[in-house]
């Protein structure tokens, strides 16, 4: 196979999207995968061409892959629903269970993509959906939504994915989903981003860059004109310019819980709440969402944790959603499953002497899977983290400056001091032990 792309192309593309959503970088990989799959050699001079190539190849790929997989699985006599899921897994790169778990399918009742788009621009209709209320009550989501919708109209111009009831229904009906995705008469591309807990659906597209510029205080017109939206077309620009400032003037609505911490100048990681409680985890989640879009200024200690860990995010561990990178004291803070499913069943409540003293759920960066890491002394020693000499000695003995793997107990043991308040030591200490 010949060299696929001209020199400099990658740099240009990556640079262009470096401040945008990470999905764009994935796009490069997918196009390359498609090019290799079909053994094609495409010349791409402009980034917009990539979309065309991607779309063209994606359609071909889906058709061929679907046909192959149907043949393969059909011969095996698998149920059509199972076949659909397998095909969906294969062609979308998204684990189908993630989508199913993230979306409360029964909440959505859109007939088709046009119906859905109508809902977006009709507040009355949006309000009938309790999760959309979240969007309307919180301007940042609404801004995302409008920006993205307009951006999608103008820039993407092809449908890649609609994660909604439509998709689910299409899938449940078999492989008609692919007709749905592949319809040539769909004018609008919509990208959904379903929050990890399924509380809201964020639509996003090429305009994260614009939103970021606006949020960072740049001049609106400059941000607008230097964004991708300059290619939108005058009519769309006019609509967007009328809509956006109204929402940008709104203050972000925050929870009473977060407001309490801000008003009292309190750390959100140590929090007023019991470590591991639903309220604490919700507070971290809200803070994480605001932090990720530069809508909140955190204390230095909090900032370090938010930048260096997945705190505030959740992952799935043995079928249950668990908060990531938040150590729990296994003796005094058993996780309450009410957090996940409304049941008062305690998990991970170790017997004395039977487990390590602390545990934390973290994501293995290599596999993407959530694992549980148990750490801490079980021989009865107490953590003397308030003693600077003890911290220094521990750090030296355990070579803490070399412990950088979050999946290992040593990583967490060395950083125990940073979670002092969470774990009931009364104070956080920077650095290692």
């Amino acid at each position: 196979m010949k060299s696929v792309l001209p020199t400099g192309y990658f740099g240009k593309f990556v640079d262009f999207y470096s401040n945008g959503s990470s999905g764009r970088e994935d796009m490069i990989g997918r196009v390359i995968k498609f090019l290799k799959y079909f053994k094609l050699d495409h010349q791409i001079d402009r980034y917009t061409d990539l979309w065309q190539v991607y779309d063209e190849l994606n359609r071909k790929y889906i058709r061929k892959k679907t046909k192959d997989l149907l043949n393969e699985y059909g011969i095996k006599g698998l149920d059509i629903d199972i076949i659909s899921k397998k095909i969906y897994d294969e062609i979308t790169f998204v684990p189908v269970d993630d989508v199913f778990n993230s979306i409360n399918i029964t909440k959505y009742d859109f007939k088709d993509e046009d119906d859905f788009i109508n809902h977006i621009f009709n507040k009355t209709n949006i309000r009938i959906h309790k999760d959309w209320d979240v969007i309307l009550d919180n301007d940042r989501y609404l801004i995302y939504e409008i920006l993205s919708y307009e951006g999608v109209l103008a820039l993407c111009d092809k449908t890649h994915c609609i994660r909604s009831k439509n998709m689910y229904q299409s899938m449940s009906r078999g492989y008609r989903m692919f007709n749905f995705v592949d319809k040539s008469n769909i004018k609008d591309s919509i990208f959904f981003d379903v929050s990890k807990n399924g509380n809201y659906v964020r639509i996003h597209s090429c305009n994260d860059r614009l939103l970021k510029a606006i949020n960072s205080g740049d001049d609106f017109d400059d941000a607008f004109n230097t964004s991708l939206l300059k290619e939108v077309g005058e009519d769309k620009i006019k609509i967007l310019k009328e809509l956006l400032p109204k929402f940008l003037k709104k203050e972000t609505v925050i929870s009473e819980s977060l407001k309490y911490h801000i008003d009292n100048n309190m750390s959100v990681t140590e929090s007023i709440y019991r470590s591991g409680s639903t309220a604490h985890i919700n507070l971290l989640k809200e803070s994480r969402e605001l932090f990720d879009i530069n809508k909140i200024l955190l204390s230095n200690d909090d900032k370090i944790l938010f930048e260096s860990t997945d705190i505030g995010r959740s992952g799935e561990y043995m079928g249950i959603r668990v908060p990531l990178d938040m150590p729990f004291d296994s003796e005094i803070n058993p996780i309450n499953e009410a957090l996940y499913k409304g049941r008062e069943v305690e998990l991970n409540h170790p017997k004395r002497g039977g487990s390590k003293k602390y545990y934390v759920y973290t994501k293995n960066p290599d596999t993407g899977k959530v694992i549980k890491v148990c750490f801490g002394d079980t021989t009865g020693l107490t953590a003397k983290i308030s003693d600077p000499e003890a911290r220094k000695s521990f750090s030296a003995r355990h070579k803490c400056n070399t412990k950088n793997d979050r999946t290992k107990p040593g990583y967490w043991s060395c950083r125990l001091t940073r979670y002092g308040k969470i774990l009931g030591f009364g104070k956080n200490y920077p650095g290692y032990w």
Binding site: E256, S257, Y260, Y273, I332, G424, G426
Partner: protein, 84 residues
């Protein structure tokens, strides 16, 4: 060592006092095995916090058994009556 002293204890109630010199770290999150009805006898800015709620000024409060809760230190001593 407990962070309080029981001034009076009967089969029906306990009069309990928390001193102003208590280290706040001793007021840990905990759960009780029985329902508790708390009445305040003497309080200045001491607060109570139930699990998943923000702290509120301690007044008459019912704490269901096994409900996580804790006290937050205020000024002076805190004297309460715990109805058993």
């Amino acid at each position: 060592m407990k962070p309080y002293i029981d001034i009076e204890r009967t089969d029906e109630y306990i009069i309990r006092e928390f001193g102003q010199n208590i280290d706040p770290i001793e007021l840990m999150w905990h759960r009780d095995d029985e329902d508790r009805l708390i009445q305040v006898i003497e309080n200045k800015d001491w607060k109570i916090q139930l699990d998943n709620e923000l702290p509120v000024l301690l007044d008459k409060v019912f704490i269901p058994k096994h409900k996580w809760h804790r006290l937050l230190k205020g000024e002076g001593n805190l004297k309460i009556k715990i109805i058993l």
